[in-house]
Symmetry: C2
Subunit: 111 residues, 2 copies
């Protein structure tokens, strides 16, 4: 996975464990795609401080993933969901279509 995409997912999962300032800088960098200089101006701090926050948070997020594996679990769950939906699709016949649609919608909305 591309590092930028990976960090954006990790930020989404573990962002609440960062301080408000850290999360703000990370979101501006990884989600709003601002440059270090722009974030520095936006948060009224130096470019170097922004750089340090990003480096430090990068490490913090990877450490959380290393311990809790939530990104990995999420990916596995998405694979499982796909497989279950494929299984369900293989069951379709005219007389059970309505029930199967109900099951599919339930799975899509709940897991």
């Amino acid at each position: 996975m591309e590092e930028r995409v990976q960090l954006s997912i990790l930020l989404d999962i573990y962002g609440k464990l960062l301080t408000e300032k850290q999360r703000n800088v990370m979101e501006l960098y990884y989600n709003a795609d601002l440059s270090l200089a722009e974030i520095a101006e936006h948060t009224n701090t130096s470019r170097q401080a922004v750089y340090d926050i990003i480096k430090r948070c990068h490490m913090i997020l990877l450490q959380y993933e290393d311990k809790l594996n939530l990104m990995k679990d999420k990916k596995n769950m998405e694979e499982s969901k796909k497989s279950i939906l494929n299984f369900i699709n293989s069951l379709y016949r005219s007389e059970n279509k309505e029930l199967l649609d109900k099951i599919k919608n339930y799975i899509i909305n709940n897991i």
Copy 2:
């Protein structure tokens, strides 16, 4: 949910975020069901220190749950799994039994 059971689940989910010493004390208290005095002897520390570690970790685990909601998500996922299996059961007929068993086993082992 009983507080002891709840803490044991939270410890299982977030235990890796505690230090080794904290986790050790918490596991002896919540999983091995040792008394404060027994843990103090076991870890070569005072009864008061053990008490303080447990109180502090209790708070830390609740703070993680407050931010990440993993216990809540896990409970919801268990409910979803039950519902999907109930749906699947309602589909059984002699000619698709084998396939439905395959789907059920897949769901039981993967979500």
